[in-house]
Symmetry: D2
Amino acid sequence: MSGNSFGRLLRLTSFGESHGPGVGGVLDGCPSGIELSRADIQADLDLRKPSLGSTSTKRKESDKVRLLSGVFRGLTTGMPIAFYVVNEDQRSRDYGELAEVFRPGHADWTYFQKFNGIRDYRGGGRASGRETIARVAAGTIAKKILQRHKIVIFAGCMELGGIPISPDETDLAGAVTRPYFAASSTAPAMWDARVEEARAAGDTLGGIVAIMAGNVPAGLGEPVFDKLEAVLAHAVMSVGAVKGVEVGNGFASAQLTGAQNNDPLLPGGKFASNRAGGILGGISSGQDIVLRVAVKPIASIARKQHTVDKQDRPREILIGGRHDLSAIPRIIPVLSAMTALALADALLLQKRMDPC
Amino acid sequence: MSGNSFGRLLRLTSFGESHGPGVGGVLDGCPSGIELSRADIQADLDLRKPSLGSTSTKRKESDKVRLLSGVFRGLTTGMPIAFYVVNEDQRSRDYGELAEVFRPGHADWTYFQKFNGIRDYRGGGRASGRETIARVAAGTIAKKILQRHKIVIFAGCMELGGIPISPDETDLAGAVTRPYFAASSTAPAMWDARVEEARAAGDTLGGIVAIMAGNVPAGLGEPVFDKLEAVLAHAVMSVGAVKGVEVGNGFASAQLTGAQNNDPLLPGGKFASNRAGGILGGISSGQDIVLRVAVKPIASIARKQHTVDKQDRPREILIGGRHDLSAIPRIIPVLSAMTALALADALLLQKRMDPC
Amino acid sequence: MSGNSFGRLLRLTSFGESHGPGVGGVLDGCPSGIELSRADIQADLDLRKPSLGSTSTKRKESDKVRLLSGVFRGLTTGMPIAFYVVNEDQRSRDYGELAEVFRPGHADWTYFQKFNGIRDYRGGGRASGRETIARVAAGTIAKKILQRHKIVIFAGCMELGGIPISPDETDLAGAVTRPYFAASSTAPAMWDARVEEARAAGDTLGGIVAIMAGNVPAGLGEPVFDKLEAVLAHAVMSVGAVKGVEVGNGFASAQLTGAQNNDPLLPGGKFASNRAGGILGGISSGQDIVLRVAVKPIASIARKQHTVDKQDRPREILIGGRHDLSAIPRIIPVLSAMTALALADALLLQKRMDPC
Amino acid sequence: MSGNSFGRLLRLTSFGESHGPGVGGVLDGCPSGIELSRADIQADLDLRKPSLGSTSTKRKESDKVRLLSGVFRGLTTGMPIAFYVVNEDQRSRDYGELAEVFRPGHADWTYFQKFNGIRDYRGGGRASGRETIARVAAGTIAKKILQRHKIVIFAGCMELGGIPISPDETDLAGAVTRPYFAASSTAPAMWDARVEEARAAGDTLGGIVAIMAGNVPAGLGEPVFDKLEAVLAHAVMSVGAVKGVEVGNGFASAQLTGAQNNDPLLPGGKFASNRAGGILGGISSGQDIVLRVAVKPIASIARKQHTVDKQDRPREILIGGRHDLSAIPRIIPVLSAMTALALADALLLQKRMDPC
């Protein structure tokens, strides 16, 4: 109810603040018998580390994950799997002014309102991007469940700072190996210049991420309120900085006619096209699930901004500290993890339909 | 778990198929003491009736709602409120071929896969738009809860068949009085021609809907996984034909810089702009909540389409029966209702934070 | 959240008041392909009718159930199954004084407090035993799911008005055919005299019910908080008039030693005894699940009682209307239904553990 | 869904195994602004330590709790509160045989069945009593919430090894200070002899615990399925070794008549008696809530027992290691914590009914 859990049968509960002792999570509902090691999770966490690409923060942390429960002799036991990462680099002095002044575009003011004036303002507290560590760690486990069914998830950057990848160059499968997790090999060079321009201007950039899930069996998702696209939208819109999501043709479908937008069915569970993005009537069709996600520019710019303080007085703020120039690329492993959690949950849920 | 419920403290469970005895729902969690009559709900149901605008089906139904529980002497009692609409016009003969052949763009094939070959194929069964009656009826009650706090919701059509409303003509508050629930007074005339063109071609149209919620207090929504925009996205993406959702600047924010996209705070809980669409860090900011929703063209076109049958043989299908030419305008009261359900739920949930 | 739903994957939401239009429920999560007819449910509802045994009310109702959704051509479709019973015999004039005066032992006063002074006082409103119609109807469907796995449930009266059945005469399987759903053939004669005595005194009786579930596979239930006995206790304690529940040796085990209370394991998934009542560590062991439930005497006695009214003035009340002399036997099909709902839910939940 | 969470608005998720790295939990939904320190939780954890009374294990652990999140400058922030206790004393060599042989009366065999042959058998793994650390830690926080409303909870031992306390000597409020958390000052001496007798016989003892919650306002609990007694029964029956629960007169009420069992109402929200145990129609009445809980004798006796091994061969087992002679007294802080969690959850849930 209070927002810190996601999923139905496979349910992640996360905890931790940016400058508290650490961040972590508990994933309940993972079936027994899945091979899992600390190193599996660490490998995914390393993908969201500050060192990747040219747009990242200089904050240095080892982010070594510890497995606290639910795994015995290298196998999951069906018990809750808890994981935890200590916050090693807590330079609280960077954030002193934040006790008093609300940063534009952040959760500062709304948390202050919601929680009756009480909040951990250090580095954004709970609203910091560090909470995504728990999403990524749980996503590793979700992907292990999906792998049993050969389901794969690819995610990559399609557009950064207004510069898109041309559709015919798109290669999502290779994105994980490229700077920015770019969905084409030529994009990073273009984006480097845009990034330098923004950096020089003390400004930040947004972008668009594409996510594709392949080998998803037909039948996942539920009718009416928990349509698969609704659950996926919930999953990705819950990630900070995400401002929009579309499936298949998405917003473009609003301009098409039915004849242009329908996917004819072919024998063998095939379709002549995939304008629907792999979901029909809320249920997966067996085609690739295709999402696009809009990521806003990071709110922490290196410029003076107008705002107010706790006493409701007008103030100027110049945000110090170490900040990313874009949520791209670090958000991409997070979006991939959320997609994995949603799909693995749907997969386990569908097992109740198996013939007895 | 099985997809037919929505909400946490204010929870709607719906039931019913297009050509079964009827459709209805149960709304649990409504506080006691709210004035509610059958007529209140009927008025909202009438807004989604086939007669509105020039794009609607000719199917004639009275859709008279009955209140089965939870109201005593004109006031809600805090008990579950059940409502029910009999399916009066069940011309099952229109749908005979649908027992064997899967319609492109519909849930036919995916339901067949999910439910082990069993489905009520008459008029789409559970996947029919008739299930939205329960959403609208529950939305009436949600709006009554919101009204206690002066919260209002407006929704209107911003674009139909690729023809948008110009931003400076937008008037969402007046949409409910216009054909197509158009968000400007000049749009319907433009759209009439587009509709006739599509009708002549045996084709269908999509569109874009804007939703605005005003007077929402700061503090609604939950951190991390149940951010207000995530819950709203879940709510609207669960409506059939919706393929995308964005909040505030949405996809456009991906092309802006942080300096362009941040909303400076002003004294008195005000902001200099509302690019965020009324939500910061997942929590309402007190500004208008602004959503845009992409609606695909209706899949039931009046043309032959390629598909397969239950025996996986290639087939051509020409869908008969009575169908809308666009989900616009009927989807608009549904989207408004889902927004109301999500916000009223968030409002009740926030009451746990009240000082004791 | 608001108390009108039960279950996780198989979830019943019920609605309706004693003297409103009717009572009903929606069962979501039933797998597709189960044979189900209106008559199946009606047969179980008839078991809880006033005509059974010599302890029942004279209130006459046909209680004809209608199936509103979720069944097509005699098979469940996987969609929510809604059922509804019209309240035919609404003699509201019997209950006029109840608008002002709180009956001892009933929910009158506590509902008044909880719901800010608003309640449907006619016949107990939502707190009436008529809400159990939804439990029994849903229980029919749960039992159909259990039957696929040969699981059977028996329930019977073990003690009425302080007169117990001797253990060596206990025959739960035959209880459904006897007056009082007595767990022995000789008990009804003993109990008739006790009932007449109570009736003459204007008083009411309590009793003890035993429930047994056979052929339950090992492995149902969840660790820690949702142990099978915890969920079963929740299920039966939610029935009005139930004041206690025990599993296996129950309260008697508090007086035994470990050597006396342990069940030695035998090869083949057998045990040398069943003191545990079929559950170990919260998980079913494959042995019979055995519960005992304490049922208090009905609060509506035919004697003057001291109480207060809405203005908090002392009052005497003599409850008129038609009332049962004991919750036995009518509560027994209800307890059986709740047990079935809890077990069918656990069964569906365990399917997520099936090897992929 | 998978059993490791409890509560609705105030929700505990726990994790950890007896001989893994540690045990802990996450409590989500605690309001902001409550004073909370590590020491508060430690004080309650110390109450369930092995050193109390004469019936406890010799296992030595410091069980130092760490607070990982959700508290800032001594106040809760409304964010999830995570706590963690390292398992310091992991003598796994004591448990070698348990990899192969199932202990009677434990979860060994049923976990083996449920989780497809995979389990952490060291010290009972997840089914060990060490999981109750998370319950007690969360209970501390729940009690802090209850204290805002002056609600207090007392729990004590009423009967041990078949030797009860006489009703007129009962003093629950003082139990926390006595050996065995005895509900009378004279009981411990009686029980010491019984304990020595059992120890000499290599046997174990059960008992009965009473729980009382005072100052509970009228109006907590929900109608129908989530009656307060149903939720409380769920809470306490989820604790290992609990085999029965009753509220108020409980099983004794089955032998009373309505005239004997009803509680007459008096002006001022008072009642002439409290046979109902503080709950009417599932809703708290403002009177003391009174529960009694049956605790079975611990299954780990120091005698040879018949059982089977993983290959389904008959075996004898003599359980070594360090074990308690009774779940009394250590279970009592656990039952108190579960009661607190259930009541604090009900309290927060009721706030949605506050006038807006």
